[in-house]
Symmetry: D2
Subunit: 341 residues, 4 copies
């Protein structure tokens, strides 16, 4: 039985507590939050969990095996480091840390101590994203040509991070999982419409080796909600619309074929293929349950996680590079390759 | 009665001939195309129009008042210049020319000779785009925050121009008309998936003075067709979906309000407003009919055109800058301001 | 503080318990269900509620003020009558009873004892349905012409009631609330695709005095989920799509106008009007919370309820007549008018 | 070369003329209409066709092989009979005639003279409807359970026929083609909202032998346009949305399975199946071209037509029975079986 403490009980914390409580081999023993009012609900619903406004109670408790951190990004490093140093496994809310340097140091600390370090890249645990990965990795889509996502709505303006760190972090973690390849450079643009606040609208292009390009559009100030990803391949193309109740994923047998060779450009002809569309039925289930399950399995049996610390680092590196490019109106910034997991 | 010659009878030419034929004060007297097979249909449908495979027949005919040029972009300058020098008014298919230098020289020639020079920015003549312009210019949207468009589908790969010149040209002409402001710099990214061909997927960000940003996504290799533009303002936001049969334009009373001042960032609070949506009924009518009407009015009564040569030049300048930036992976490129019309 | 007992803890019971628990002036003191396994969850979540597999524990408890009955329809009458006879107020799941005779007897019993009797016509408490009622009753739609609803999906086949009693009950309660008028006759058709089971697909037409007609389509065996209601009036028409995340209600300024008089049919001309569409922003909030609130207010302050026993009776009468007509392949059946509330 | 005359040049006539003109083995030699103004356009576009305001010119012309009749329904019988008696093949606009008696007499006349008699059931010639028929007839859908269609919009109110004869005629011809089975009884309801005019809203249920039911909803006074048909089978279900640009047909692997036998109802269990969806790519092409092609083939080589006179009669019999039932508020009316083609 893994003894779990959840630090941070704001928007996402209650979901984490609920899902860890549902696991047969884990128990939530602590819930902490700076705001005492939030903790009132915990006592009622989870009588076996202790509550506190001081996360040090968790760090100091030798019975705690693992700490789940769901606090603002700027606190991730300090809290994560304290937990690791106290010998506790860590599941961190996305993004893993506020800088790639911090992320590296968390990885190092976990590795040195043989502790589990995982990031809650929730989408990676949905059946929709897993299906897209399977389509992309199995070769069913052919050579991958582009990855294009839009994640916009009228959303909460964050104080401390720009919209990339809040919304594109989802798409970057999905893309990392689906493609299994790393961009070599990024170009990002964006704007802040509220003086003194970070950018609330941003566009991010990523360049890969070969003929693959990726792009993300994120926006906190859109009149409508859109959650749509296109993955284009030489053989098939996928449309993933996360707002569809069913038919979230549609696979299109559409594309082009090129006759002739590069040596013979003048004779080269492009053919267009328009075939059937197919929407695979997806398994139902809460992704966060699978996140909790995976974290416990990682602790107990070293079962490899698709959202381990390295995945977390790769995403942070892209966010860092993108923010740098955005400050320079799209000037391309190269991405240092993160060590593979 | 204005005697009109149409040069180029491929995809768009027949529509131009039909619409000029429908005008009571214009007559189509010539239709030319390099391919004789295309001209066969003309003789049947428009017995009063002469046909030729040599556009010089048009240039030399003193009875021709105006030439409508619907040929590939690379031929625009030469054909347009020949027509102007022969004293004929010119309506050019979009984009006006292949370079801003060519566009300037066409403008100069037309101005020197007192001839009409107009570009067929067709969308500018639709009731949908005119409604958006009216909303934007009347202040109903408040301060303009962003302009975001997506124009993708499985489309014909062009040989000689990249996807920006083929698809984004529509969005740039719409944006020019709606905003009435010029970007000061652009950052574009894109990729060619067929070796030896120009880019078939592209992303274009434009920066303006103040808090306005614009972005366009164009793609010839998408599994689905999307034609969607968002215009975000401080008071209202517009979604324009050109594939909707009715309700092409939806106006949302949504957005944010900022309490507090810039001096007082710590106390600044953001409020969120979610109000009604409204879809104005739009007039029905073929936009190209209005283009033809406007061109004749420009010739006859100097009635000012929303798609005059200056508009054509402004769009070409943006395409030129974008293509330059795209070659440098998004490096920002400043836009020389075109003389206002 | 009203002491509430909830009888039946299957699909809907947990929602009832949660919403009554959230009221400041009510307390859930009992939860009963025939299946003990369902009750296990109650003890954890609501430590102050007692649980039992015998609903008589509730009936006999003098501290219970009100009983909420969420059991199969065939048990409504017996349970409701027992509760009323024990002097307890009753909130009944829809439909109120299995026959109009049973419904009448429940109404009589409640009236004689001065007890509250209410039906959980949940939709009547949504902001969407309240907006439609307001549009219809205020005259904004003009004279009402038709009410047309579709409620289909791949749903659970009930054992004891046909699809009208399971699905159309929602639409009938909405229609009753929106129109405030009673049909005078019904014609229904339907079919059972599983031998020995009640009809799983049904169509129901209702005739009113004057030029108003209503129709409902319900189906447990549809490949897609549709929840769409049209309300047509002489001045405006409403489309209510309950699956839309926002824009559930769209009001169209469309219709016809008739010139000329009936005496002069030959000269009568019909004009068509196609105007704007408008989607009012709707308040957010769980309808069942408002149901619970209303029930307590009805008990405490006799605050009139839009889903009182009379509304419940009117709906049951229509279901009864429709079932009768369906057995006779659509033969029209007249509806005895229920006493108005 | 078949010499064709088109009688009636209103809404649909121009499409018929155009499509027959496009056939290599047919020639349009006459176009007639009571209104001379409509004929002006013909002379320009089809110089080889003669025009007249008197259809007798067509009947008397011995060079005319076939007559295409696109006039109001009430004139179908007289015009068709005159053409057949003059020894001319006939293609009739839908519905074939105003009564089944008239339809029978047209069939008799054509049979006696060995002339072709065909109805323009246009939808039967679309690739979408042909795909649905293939799915239904091949057994891919399993046992057919229901056929459900909705065809509504703000449409032209007809003077002389109710909305069933104007709109449901499309659905009845599709259903006849797809199912290949005849209903044995109908129940219809509807209402006229304009005094003195026929019903503008109607609902039609059809009963078949076995476990098959069909329903149609047609309405000239709807705020939105809907063209949607569901075909439910025991193995698969189809959604046909004719307003979708692509993906008009979606095939769902969804449904129920019944365990246990009828003798053993208490133990009978229903299982629910939710599988993939598949949208077959459909061939592109104008259906009316195929109608014209089929008519000429029927004349020249007796190639059997899916919309021969018998199909026309079957549809008229259903319209007749439905109108009768509608006048009696849904009282079921049995359908006399039309002789199979």
């Amino acid at each position: 039985m893994i003894q779990v403490a959840v630090v941070g009980y704001g928007y996402w914390g209650p979901n984490l507590v609920r899902n860890f409580s549902d696991l047969p081999d884990a128990r939530v023993v602590w819930v902490t939050d700076l705001r005492a009012d939030r903790l009132a609900a915990v006592a009622n619903r989870y009588p076996s969990a202790r509550v506190s406004t001081d996360h040090n109670d968790v760090i100091k408790d030798p019975d705690v095996d693992a700490v789940v951190i769901a606090t603002p990004v700027r606190t991730h490093f300090e809290l994560g480091m304290a937990a690791l140093r106290a010998g506790k496994h860590v599941l961190m809310e996305k993004p893993l840390a506020a800088t790639s340097d911090e992320a590296c140091r968390l990885l190092d600390e976990a590795a040195r101590r043989g502790l589990a370090l995982m990031v809650d890249h929730t989408f990676v645990y949905t059946s929709a994203v897993q299906k897209i990965r399977q389509l992309a990795r199995s070769g069913e889509l052919g050579e991958l040509y582009y990855y294009d996502s839009v994640r916009i709505n009228l959303g909460l303006f964050q104080h401390d991070v720009n919209v990339l760190w809040d919304l594109a972090v989802h798409d970057l973690s999905i893309m990392d999982f689906v493609l299994g390849r790393q961009p070599i450079a990024v170009s990002a643009t964006g704007l802040a419409h509220v003086a003194g606040r970070p950018e609330n609208i941003a566009y991010l292009t990523m360049f890969f080796d070969g003929r693959l390009i990726a792009h993300m559009h994120v926006n906190w100030l859109a009149p409508v909600k859109i959650r749509r990803t296109l993955v284009g391949g030489s053989r098939r193309m996928v449309v993933f619309d996360d707002l569809e109740a069913s038919e979230k994923i549609k696979v299109y047998d559409r594309g082009i074929s090129v006759d002739g060779t590069q040596d013979d450009l003048a004779l080269m002809r492009i053919g267009y293929r328009t075939g059937d569309m197919w929407a695979p039925q997806l398994a139902i289930g809460e992704a966060l349950h699978a996140v909790a399950r995976q974290f416990v399995d990682l602790i107990v049996s070293k079962s490899p996680s698709p959202s381990d610390g390295f995945a977390g680092l790769r995403v942070v590196r892209l966010l860092e590079a993108a923010t740098q490019s955005m400050a320079a109106q799209g000037r391309p910034v190269s991405v240092v390759e993160a060590t593979a997991s």
